[in-house]
Structure formats: structure tokens, C-alpha cells
């Protein structure tokens, strides 16, 4: 089975449940293939959790360490609340009566696909515990360090920052997320479609097929790394990153890590779009989800337009470049 067919079946499979959001589905798959994590920001009920679950269910059993539910890779969901403690995530040492010793009871972080719901409701210390896992792919508790599976993929969701009772993620932590996307509401027709189908299907749990294995995903991730990025594309990204730092209306520009992440995501995105090379369209498609949350804008107006303008300008430059000049 070629990678194209694998990806097609994965996205198609998710789209049977998540209607009318092909772009967002692709973003999530891209983040997965880029070995990154994704932050969904949206109002409650937009389908964030369903998406994460569906993704997990679409990938079949294959990992050894983790308990799998519903036959897919392991999927855990944590609802973040203000009184959540780090140990609720990573687990804790519990006294074993039989062994007369403390044994480590693994928390919900030990999984393949983690849905961290409403991440900005938890206190900063819980947030940072999660983010350490995401960055280092390991968990430290007491004197032991547990390696997480290399599959480890977090889908975090957060409510819009304006809502009450939230601890906004600091810029340094937002930076760990490869992408931040928002779903938005679907159109009238799609919504109608969802309602009718939902009533017919009932629960998605039983309808989602497993289309890929754990190994398939690892292979795809490997393949994404091998996607060819033309030097001009890299130059274009350098220019965009540099421009965000020099822009009048951007207080904090993109970091170098941002740039690296951008290229990783571009590769994965190209693969998702069934190409083994990156084109200018990819830059335009990914700039917003990958870069926007890394920047701090001086005003609301700038936050809507400034990045788009930079990217449009650079994409236009690339578009006007002839083959012979490359």
C-alpha cells in the first residue's frame, strides 16, 4: 500500500465523522506526520474531541506498552480543570501492600494519542508538566524517567482566551505546539448533513474503521522527513521568518524553532497532499496555523493582516520566479 493510498484512506476515514472540515483534518494529520502536536482553539462542541478520537481509532493496534481502547492505538483524554495536579497526568508512586514497596502507577499521559481538553483551564504547573512531555517525549517522576512512545501525539484544545477562568498559555509554551488551528462552525448544508447522519449512525465509536497500523504511521512520518524542499522555498521561509522580526506591527517575531517547525510541517503537508516536494501553495496554507500563534502583535488589526501580508508577498515572489532562475 503506497503512502498516498494510506493517507487518503486515513483522511477519508476521519472525514466520514468530521464533516466539512477537510482542511482542518489535513492539518491534524500533518501535525501527526511532522511528529508534532497540535492545539485546537475553539468554542465547546465544535468537534475537537471527536476529531482526536477518530484519529486514534483510525490507527489500529500495534503498540505493545499501552492499553488500547477500541482496537486502535492507545487514546486517552484528560479534561483539564483548575484543581488538576501534575500527578493526575503523569501518575504517581503508590504503596504496594504485596511488595511492600512504592510502585509507579502510570498516569493518562502514557498513551499514543492524548486529547488534552481545555488545556488553558489548568494551572500553569500542570500545563508545564504536559508541555515537558510534549517537548522531551519523556516523563520524570521521582528518580525514574519514563520514555514515552515515539508515536506520542497530543491534541490539545483550548477555549478562546477571552473566556473566564482560564490560564492563558505563555508564548514559550505555545511555541511547543507545531500548529494551532481553529475549527469554526460548519456551513448550513454540512450541519444539516451532520445532524441527519448522526441520528442514523448514533455513536461514532462503533463506525470508525481502523485503516492504518501503528507502523504505517511511523513509516509515513519517515517518509515525510524525506520530502524534498527546494532551496528557494527555504529561502522564502527564511525571509518570512526574518520579516516577522522586522515588521513594524509585530512585537515578537518567529523563533528559529518556529522556522524549523515550519519546514517540518511543510514536508508533512506536502505528503498529505500526495507530493514529494514542497510548493509555494504549501507555504501559504501553513503559514497561519504554524506561525501565527508564535507571534505577538501590537494590535488586533495587525494580528489579522500582518502575517498574511508578509506571506502573500513572499509567495508572490516565489510565484514570479521562473524555473530557469531557480
Amino acid at each position: 500500500m503506497s503512502s498516498a493510498i494510506k493517507l487518503k484512506s486515513l483522511t477519508d476515514n476521519i472525514e466520514t465523522i468530521i464533516r466539512g472540515k477537510p482542511q482542518e483534518v489535513k492539518y491534524v494529520v500533518t501535525a501527526l506526520l511532522a511528529r508534532g502536536h497540535i492545539l485546537l482553539e475553539d468554542n465547546p462542541g465544535a468537534g475537537k474531541t471527536v476529531l482526536a478520537k477518530t484519529l486514534a481509532q483510525s490507527i489500529s493496534e500495534g503498540a505493545i506498552d499501552f492499553q488500547s481502547t477500541n482496537g486502535g492505538v492507545a487514546f486517552k483524554r484528560i479534561q483539564f480543570t483548575p484543581d488538576l495536579l501534575p500527578m493526575d497526568l503523569i501518575g504517581s508512586h503508590i504503596f504496594d501492600e504485596a511488595k511492600k514497596d512504592f510502585v509507579f502507577k502510570k498516569g493518562p499521559l502514557f498513551t499514543h494519542v492524548l486529547l488534552a481538553d481545555e488545556i488553558n483551564r489548568a494551572s500553569p504547573k500542570v500545563q508545564s508538566a504536559l508541555l515537558e512531555c510534549m517537548a522531551e517525549n519523556q516523563i520524570s517522576s521521582g528518580d525514574t524517567t519514563f520514555q514515552l512512545d515515539k508515536f506520542f501525539f497530543t491534541i490539545a484544545t483550548q477555549n478562546p482566551i477571552e473566556m473566564e477562568g482560564t490560564y492563558p498559555l505563555p508564548a514559550a509554551q505555545l511555541d511547543r505546539f507545531y500548529m494551532k488551528i481553529s475549527f469554526g462552525y460548519v456551513s448550513e448544508e454540512v450541519e444539516f448533513d451532520i445532524y441527519t447522519n448522526y441520528l442514523a449512525i448514533g455513536d461514532s465509536k462503533n463506525t470508525v474503521k481502523q485503516v492504518l497500523t501503528y507502523n504505517d504511521v511511523i513509516e509515513l512520518q519517515q517518509e515525510a522527513e524525506n520530502v524534498y524542499v527546494h532551496p528557494e522555498i527555504i529561502k522564502g521561509i527564511v525571509r518570512i521568518v526574518q520579516a516577522t522580526r522586522n515588521h513594524q506591527e509585530i512585537a515578537l517575531g518567529s523563533s528559529t524553532r518556529g522556522g524549523i517547525t515550519f519546514i517540518k510541517c511543510l514536508k508533512a503537508w506536502a505528503l498529505v497532499n500526495q507530493r514529494d516536494y514542497v510548493i509555494e501553495d504549501d507555504i501559504r496554507a501553513l503559514a497561519q496555523p504554524v506561525l501565527h500563534h508564535r507571534l505577538i502583535f501590537r494590535n488586533r488589526e495587525a494580528s489579522k493582516t500582518a502575517l498574511q501580508q508578509l506571506v502573500d508577498k513572499e509567495v508572490n515572489t516565489l510565484a514570479k520566479m521562473g524555473i530557469s532562475k531557480l
Binding site: Q23, S182, G184, Y228, H230, E232, I233, N246, Q248, R275, D276, Y277, V278, I279, E280, D281, R284, Q288, P289, H292, S303, K304, T305, Q308, Q309, D312, K313, V315, N316, A319, M321, G322, I323, S324, L326
Partner: protein
């Protein structure tokens, strides 16, 4: 605005100074210099004006560059001005205040203009169009005020502004962003500048080659207008006079008169020397006695134009009917009927005058004191030929009572009054016009009735009783203009800007009515016109005279007067039986203004007086001995022309002689046997000159002439062959020679502009051709794909499917393929693969390129239609957008 580091901003400012401010200051300098040339009242030195303008520009440009607020700076500026004004009014001394105010006004005007320019350049994107318009208007206004207009003149003044406009047009796109000075941007900038220069050169070449003939024709016409002296032309125009029943030729004489008046009204080029004259009229004690120089009389009321016009069919028309320009050398013409037509002989005497014209524009009429009865053309001394184009000697039957000291308005100098009183007392002997021919008096007292004319009549009659003597009526009218109000201030005043109507022509009766009853302000034609109406209303034969006021000059050259354009004048002539026509200048002096002393137009030395002028035919030429044998039957001997009863033959010694052909120096060898010559011999002590003997026939006297006759000057008459040639070219040029009007200049200008526009209109098509040629000449598939891609983008854009911020692939998918039914997306995918992937051409790719390349035109034509798709290429604005960064629209799908 920007919070980038100040160093960077200063660097940006400096770059902009070089790119924008300096060219603007340069164009400002050019325009200011030109305005100064046209408007003498501006004349305080271009340098200081430039400093004012530049200061305003640089200051405001820098301020607004650093983000100053418009309102704040404007208020600050106003406050500064206000303080400035206050400070001036505290200056000691009235004169200082006046001087400082004038200076401050000029300063503030120019400073504010510079300031506004600076503001516009920084803040308004398309401001240069506005600035360009302002400059062009200023230039055009100045051009239209200029009299001797030539094509070069127009081009010389319009070109800099046009070049500036184009320069700014080219520069404007890069000015919107930060200007980077790295190698890439610098080269871009350089390319822009070079391209700009090339375009300018191209424009000039195209204009030059396209309109070469037109330009030449216009130049010729312009030149011809300046110096139209050929006889045929004037004859024809004389015919026109007759055709029009003596009405003044609007475009010809009206123009000339208008011209002189315009000079007067605008005070522009007032230092231009029109002509100079030696007038041999002296008081018994030897002091020069100036006489006004007459050009035309306006005698007939034209009810259409409501003003007085020229009429040559008048009873006893006392102008000499000859065109003084273009006459052969030493040609003389006498009209003795003038003596009778002058209708007066008391105090009259013959006055001789020489007139040197710096322009050949004084045609149809002889410039000179009134009652010119004889004229002879004379050569201009070699050294002065650059200044004076032609000269003639005139004899005038002038009246001593027309001495300018009698004529000047006494407001100029009250000491004149006792002197003028003598003339008035003398004229009191004239009781009325009962003895004068009724036709004559009726003609010269014709005056319309009704409406405003009745109020003028009423006004005139209120000044003086109806039965007063004619001279008292004249004095009453004069005194009316000199009246003062209770504060001792004159009611009437002299101004060059008469009311709202700044018409340099003879004012219409409506304007005169306003002048008499409302404004009380005007220049010479107002005073002359008003007095004409009033005197005619009082039954005094009067005419309107245009010409030149003669002002006594320095004693350096006794008897010499020179006439500047600003001396163009109008006054009235009143008829007194037996005394003839007498000048009365009603124009009051300008109390507010002292005219600046005029430069001394050093007159040429009077030419030596010839004792003999022979009109001969050459028989033999001895080049070695420089001797000629000539035969003649016409000669001028001591200024008296004679025609002999038979042909005489004489030898002429030309060894010390100057030979001229067509007014230019040539050699003796140029004289061929059979040529017609005019041989001149001057009075010279070294020569034995036979004195004329009264009562002896000229043939008898001829025998006593020395032999050989020593010639001083030989004028070769133009040969038949040359004449024919000249006539032919004249005829030719006549065909194209029309009255050059502003319409034609505008036509030519619009042609030039039109061709430039056409060039611009065609640019999109040229670009298409370039793209298609590039496709045809592409070497390998990659290159071809590239060229097809570029051409496709361009053609879709022109067809009206403009790409916004979307990528070409999206553009293909969403805009092109659904509407045009093409395979652009397929091509784009392939193209992007070629462009960005590491792989090479695949099979079938070439097919895609070729088929898509062919389908573009078909697709567009199907959708848009052939005619419209072609027509689209003339949409320059759309085409220019293709080369710009498409506007970034916020992607609605990405809610942030």
C-alpha cells in the same frame, strides 16, 4: 508610525531627499525662474525664492517623514506666521513695513507651497500627479502670457515638467516601501532609472520623427508671424480690409494692438526695446521737443463689439498708405495729399525723423509723429543690425502744438500747466465747428445714444456748458479725471488691473461705463476711451489714437528717443479747425508707483547721408580694378528722386565699397554683368560733390558729376532666378502658412501627448508580444514551461481574471478553470513539480505544456470574445496592476 531605529529612519530620509526632494527643488527652480521671467513683480531674485521654497519643502518633508501630525504642524505654522506679521507691523518706518510685508508675503507664499508639496509627497500616494498638474498649469499660464512665442520656447519650458512627472511616475512604486540599499535593490533602482531615461529618449525620438514636419511648419509659422513682411501678404490683408468694409481686422491689427496693450497691462517684458528714433524737432533754444508717435487711429464705433475700431474709409484719412516693412532699400514714397488731409496748417512744419525697428511687426502703418507724408527706407549700420532689423526715414507735417509737453497730462508734472495754458489760450480762438465740412464733423462726433451712453452724455454735459469753446470742453474732461475728493485724494487712479476684466483690448463701452461711474480705475485705453465718448457727446470731433508716448531722454544723444514696450499708449486727438488734429493725453499718472528708470537703449549712429543713389543695370564688371560700367535712368540726388529722360552710362569706382546682397555682406565678385544694383555714395569731405543747382535740369547737372563715381555701398538686387525660387518657397510656405493660434499649438501639443499616450496604450500589447516571442524561442522544456506559465498568467490577467493574493495554483483551480474551461490546474501542478521538485521532466509533460499553451487563446476568446479580448490589451491600468504586488486579502477561512 514606525518604531524602527532612528538611524534607519534617517537613512531612509536621506535616500528620499536624493530621490524625491532634490528633483522637486530642481523643478521648482526651473518653474520659478520661468515665472520670474514672465512676472516682473516677482522679481526679487530666484535664489532667495528657491531658498524659501526649498526650506518649506525640506522642512515639511522631514517633519512628515518622522510622523508629524498635519493639524499640529499647521497650527504651529499659522502661529509663526501670525507672530511674524505682528513683528513686521512693529517695524519703524512706513517704508520698512511696506518692504518687509512684500518680502514676507512672497516668503510665506513660497514657503507654504513648498510645505504643501512636502506634505503631499510624504503622505499622499499619487501626489506627484497633483504637483505635476500645478506645475504644468503654472508653466502654461506663463507661456500664454508671453508674446514672442516659439516652439522651442514652449518645449523648453514644458519638457522639464513633463520629465519630472514621468520621473515621479516611475519612482512612485518603490517609494511606498522601505528603500533597501542592498545590492539587489540598488540594481533594481538603477534599472528603473535607466529604463526611465530610455523611455524619455524613445519618446523624444518618436515625437521628433513623427512630427518633424509639423514641428517645422509650426516653427515656420511662428517665425512668419513674427516677421511677416512680404508684400503679397500685406496686399492680401489690405484686400481684407476692403472686404470687411473697413472693419478692424480682428486677428491682425487687433492682435498687434492687443499685443502692445497686453505688454502694458501685464508689465511683462516692459524692458523690451520696440524701436528707437531720432526726431529732428527742437525748441528754438535747441532742447529736444518730443512728439507722440502714432500707430493707428480708431475712429469708427462698432456696435457689435461696443467699442471703437479702425476705419480707413474716413473723410480725409491722413495716414500714409504704405507698408514700411519689406520695402527695397532706399525706396522712397511720398504722399503730398497728406498736407491737405491734415486739415490745418497753423503751427505746422516738416519734421524729419529716423525710425529703427527692432521688430518687423509694425506693418500696414508707419510709426511716426502724426501726418507722416514721406518715407524712405535706409540701411541699418552694420554694428546695429543685430538689434535693429530695419529702418526708415520719415517726413512728417507735424504741429508744434503737438509737442509732448503740451500733450502730457499735467498730473505728471504740475509745472507743465502754465506752458499748456499757452496752447489752450491759443486754441480759444476756435469758437465752434461751423466752418468745417459737415461730413467730417458728423463722422468724428458720431456717438451712440440710449442706455449707458446717455448717462455718459449726461455726465459730460454736467461738466461744461454746451456752448463752451471746444478747448474748454477738452480741459473740462481732463480736469474731470484729475478731480480729488474731500480728503484730497484723486478719485480716478491709474491701474494696470482694471476691475475684474483684465482685457488688454480696447475696453468696451460697458467697461468704460464702469470705469467712469464705479471703479474709477484703469489704464490708458480707459482714459482715452472715456474721453472719446465724452468729447463726442459734447460735439467735439475726436479720435482714439494708439501709439507710443515719447518721453524725453538723456542728453547723451540729442534728439534720440527710444521706445519700450511699456510705453505703448493710447490717447485722444481732437480736431481744431486750422490747427489740425491735436493730441491730448488724459491718462493720469500713477501716484502709487514710480516707474523704474529704463535702461539706456543706446541708439545707432545716424547713417551717413547719401548725396547720390543710383538705380542701375550693370554693363561690364572689372573685377581686378573693381570698376563697373553701369547704365541708369533713375536716381536720388540729395534726397530728391529723379527719373531721367534717357539712359545714362557711367563708370563706378567700387574699390572702397561695401557690397551687399539681400542685406548681407558679400564680395565684389558676386556682381555679374546684367545685375540690377543700387549704388550709394555718401556725402564726404574727401569727395568732390557737385551741389544741386536750383532751376537746372537734372540731366544737365549729371554732366557735372565726377567720373568715375565713387561708390560707398552697392546693394545687389535679388536676381530673377533667386526671386523665383524665393517666391516659390514663399508660395509653398503660404500654403501651410495659416494664422498660428493657440488652437494649433494646442493641437500639436495634443498630438505629442496623444502619441505618448498611444505608446503607453500599446505597451501591454508589446509585452504580450515579448512573452509570445519568448515562448517561441524557449530552448528546453523547462524554459518553455516557464514562458508558457508567465504568458498564461499575463493573458488571464488581461482578459479580466486578475489574480489576487492567492497562489497561481489556487488561481488556476478557482478562477481560471471553472470559467475558461481550461486545464490550467493540470499545467500548474506539472509546472510546480518541475519548479520545486528534485525530479526531472516526465513523459507527457511536454504534451501538457504544448496543449495548454495552445488552448489559452481559444479559452479566452470563447469566454470573452475576440474583439473584447483584444480591446482588453488597451486597459493600461489593468496591465500595470499585473506588475504590482496583488492586494493581500485576509483569508476568511482562517479565523484567528
Amino acid at each position: 508610525m514606525n518604531e524602527a531605529n532612528p538611524k534607519d529612519r534617517i537613512q531612509q530620509l536621506l535616500i528620499r531627499w536624493v530621490l524625491v526632494v532634490v528633483p522637486t527643488i530642481v523643478i521648482g527652480f526651473i518653474t520659478l525662474r520661468f515665472l520670474n521671467f514672465s512676472y516682473t513683480n516677482l522679481n526679487t531674485g530666484v535664489a532667495s525664492q528657491l531658498v524659501y521654497f526649498g526650506l518649506g519643502l525640506v522642512l515639511s518633508y522631514s517633519l512628515y517623514h518622522f510622523g508629524a501630525r498635519w493639524l499640529v504642524t499647521f497650527i504651529l505654522l499659522s502661529i509663526v506666521y501670525w507672530l511674524f506679521e505682528k513683528a513686521i507691523s512693529r517695524l519703524p518706518g512706513e517704508f520698512d513695513v511696506f518692504y518687509a510685508t512684500a518680502r514676507a508675503q512672497l516668503f510665506s507664499t513660497l514657503f507654504v507651497v513648498g510645505w504643501l508639496f512636502g506634505f503631499l509627497l510624504v503622505r499622499v500616494r499619487w501626489s506627484y500627479i497633483l504637483i505635476f498638474a500645478i506645475l504644468i498649469i503654472a508653466t502654461l499660464v506663463s507661456i500664454s502670457d508671453t508674446i514672442d512665442i516659439s516652439l522651442e520656447y514652449i518645449l523648453a519650458h514644458i519638457t522639464p515638467v513633463v520629465v519630472y512627472g514621468l520621473y515621479m511616475f516611475f519612482l512612485s512604486p518603490i517609494l511606498t516601501d522601505r528603500i533597501e540599499l542592498d545590492a539587489k535593490r540598488s540594481s533594481k533602482l538603477l534599472i528603473r532609472v535607466v529604463l526611465f531615461a530610455l523611455l524619455i529618449v524613445l519618446a523624444f525620438v518618436v515625437t521628433e520623427s513623427l512630427f518633424k514636419n509639423d514641428l517645422k511648419a509650426v516653427e515656420k509659422e511662428l517665425a512668419a508671424r513674427g516677421a511677416k513682411g512680404n508684400k503679397d501678404g500685406s496686399d492680401k490683408e489690405k484686400d481684407n480690409y476692403d472686404d470687411r468694409d473697413g472693419l478692424m481686422d480682428k486677428t491682425d491689427d487687433g492682435y498687434r494692438l492687443k499685443d502692445t496693450m497686453r505688454v502694458n497691462s501685464k508689465m511683462s517684458q516692459s524692458d523690451k526695446l520696440m524701436f528707437c528714433s531720432k526726431l529732428d524737432n527742437y525748441f528754438p533754444d535747441g532742447t529736444p521737443a518730443p512728439l507722440y508717435f502714432v500707430y493707428h487711429y480708431l475712429t469708427k464705433y462698432d456696435p457689435v463689439k461696443e467699442t471703437f475700431t479702425r476705419d480707413i474709409n474716413v473723410p480725409s484719412f491722413d495716414e500714409i498708405k504704405i507698408d514700411p516693412v519689406g520695402l527695397p532699400m532706399y525706396y522712397s514714397y511720398t504722399d503730398t495729399t497728406i498736407f491737405k488731409k491734415s486739415m490745418g496748417d497753423k503751427f505746422h512744419k516738416v519734421v524729419e525723423a529716423q525710425v529703427y525697428l527692432s521688430e518687423n511687426t509694425w506693418k500696414h502703418s508707419v510709426l511716426g509723429p502724426s501726418n507722416v507724408f514721406a518715407i524712405q527706407t535706409i540701411p541699418v549700420e552694420k554694428d546695429f543690425q543685430k538689434t535693429f532689423l530695419s529702418a526708415y526715414k520719415i517726413y512728417s507735417y507735424a504741429s508744434d502744438l503737438n509737442n509732448a509737453y503740451f500733450v502730457y497730462n499735467i498730473s505728471a508734472s504740475p509745472t507743465l500747466e502754465p506752458m499748456q495754458k499757452q496752447r489752450h489760450d491759443e486754441l480759444r480762438s476756435v469758437q465752434d465747428y461751423s466752418k468745417v465740412d459737415k461730413v467730417f464733423t458728423d463722422y468724428y462726433t458720431t456717438y451712440p445714444r440710449g442706455g449707458i451712453y446717455d448717462s455718459i452724455t449726461k455726465l459730460a454735459e454736467s461738466l461744461v456748458p454746451k456752448d463752451a469753446k471746444p478747448v474748454d470742453k477738452v480741459i473740462a474732461v481732463r480736469d474731470f479725471f484729475l478731480k480729488r475728493n474731500e480728503n484730497g485724494k484723486r478719485i480716478f487712479r491709474y491701474t494696470l488691473k482694471a476691475g475684474a476684466v483684465d482685457d488688454p483690448n480696447i475696453p468696451s463701452s460697458k467697461m468704460l461705463y464702469n470705469f467712469l461711474f464705479k471703479t474709477h480705475a484703469g489704464y490708458c485705453t480707459y482714459y482715452a476711451g472715456a474721453s472719446l465718448f465724452m468729447l463726442r457727446a459734447l460735439g467735439v470731433p475726436t479720435r482714439f489714437t494708439t501709439g507710443f508716448a515719447t518721453i524725453n531722454r538723456s542728453d547723451k544723444n540729442k534728439g534720440w528717443y527710444w521706445f519700450y514696450a511699456s510705453q505703448a499708449h493710447a490717447w485722444t486727438q481732437v480736431y481744431f479747425p486750422e490747427y489740425g488734429w491735436l493730441d491730448f493725453d488724459m491718462t493720469i499718472g500713477n501716484e502709487d508707483q514710480q516707474s523704474a528708470p529704463k535702461p539706456d537703449g543706446t541708439p545707432p549712429l545716424p547713417p551717413p547721408d547719401p548725396w547720390l543713389v543710383l538705380n542701375v543695370k550693370t554693363n561690364t564688371v572689372d573685377v581686378k580694378a573693381k570698376k563697373l560700367e553701369v547704365s541708369f535712368n533713375q536716381l536720388i540726388y540729395f534726397n530728391t528722386p529723379h527719373t531721367l529722360n534717357k539712359t545714362f552710362t557711367r563708370t563706378v569706382d567700387a574699390s572702397l565699397c561695401r557690397v551687399l546682397y539681400d542685406k548681407r555682406d558679400t564680395t565684389f565678385a558676386a556682381i555679374q554683368p546684367g545685375d540690377s544694383l543700387i549704388i550709394v555714395s555718401y556725402k564726404d569731405d574727401a569727395k568732390k560733390i557737385p551741389q544741386p543747382q536750383a532751376g537746372v535740369a537734372i540731366e544737365q547737372q549729371l554732366l557735372g558729376f565726377p567720373s568715375p563715381i565713387i561708390a560707398d555701398e552697392i546693394h545687389i538686387s535679388p536676381k530673377e532666378k533667386d526671386k523665383k525660387k524665393k517666391d516659390a518657397t514663399k508660395k509653398k510656405s503660404k500654403l501651410t502658412e495659416k494664422k498660428i493660434t493657440f488652437k494649433e499649438i494646442a493641437l500639436l501639443a495634443s498630438k505629442i501627448v496623444g502619441s505618448l499616450l498611444l505608446l503607453i496604450l500599446l505597451l501591454p500589447l508589446f509585452y504580450l508580444m515579448y512573452r509570445l516571442i519568448r515562448i517561441a524561442f524557449s530552448k528546453n522544456p523547462n524554459d518553455k514551461a516557464d514562458q508558457v506559465y508567465r504568458a498564461a498568467l499575463y493573458r488571464f490577467h488581461i482578459a479580466g481574471f486578475e489574480r489576487d493574493a492567492e497562489t497561481p495554483l489556487d488561481y488556476a483551480r478557482t478562477k481560471i478553470d471553472p470559467t475558461l474551461n481550461l486545464n490550467f490546474e493540470e499545467f500548474m501542478r506539472m509546472y510546480l513539480r518541475l519548479k520545486y521538485s528534485s525530479g526531472s521532466l516526465r513523459t507527457g509533460d511536454q504534451e501538457i505544456i504544448n496543449s495548454f499553451s495552445k488552448s489559452i487563446g481559444i479559452g479566452i476568446r470563447k469566454k470573452v470574445g475576440f474583439i473584447k479580448s483584444l480591446f482588453n490589451y488597451f486597459n493600461v491600468f489593468r496591465a500595470s496592476r499585473f506588475f504590482q504586488q496583488p492586494p493581500s486579502i485576509n483569508n476568511e477561512n482562517q479565523s484567528l
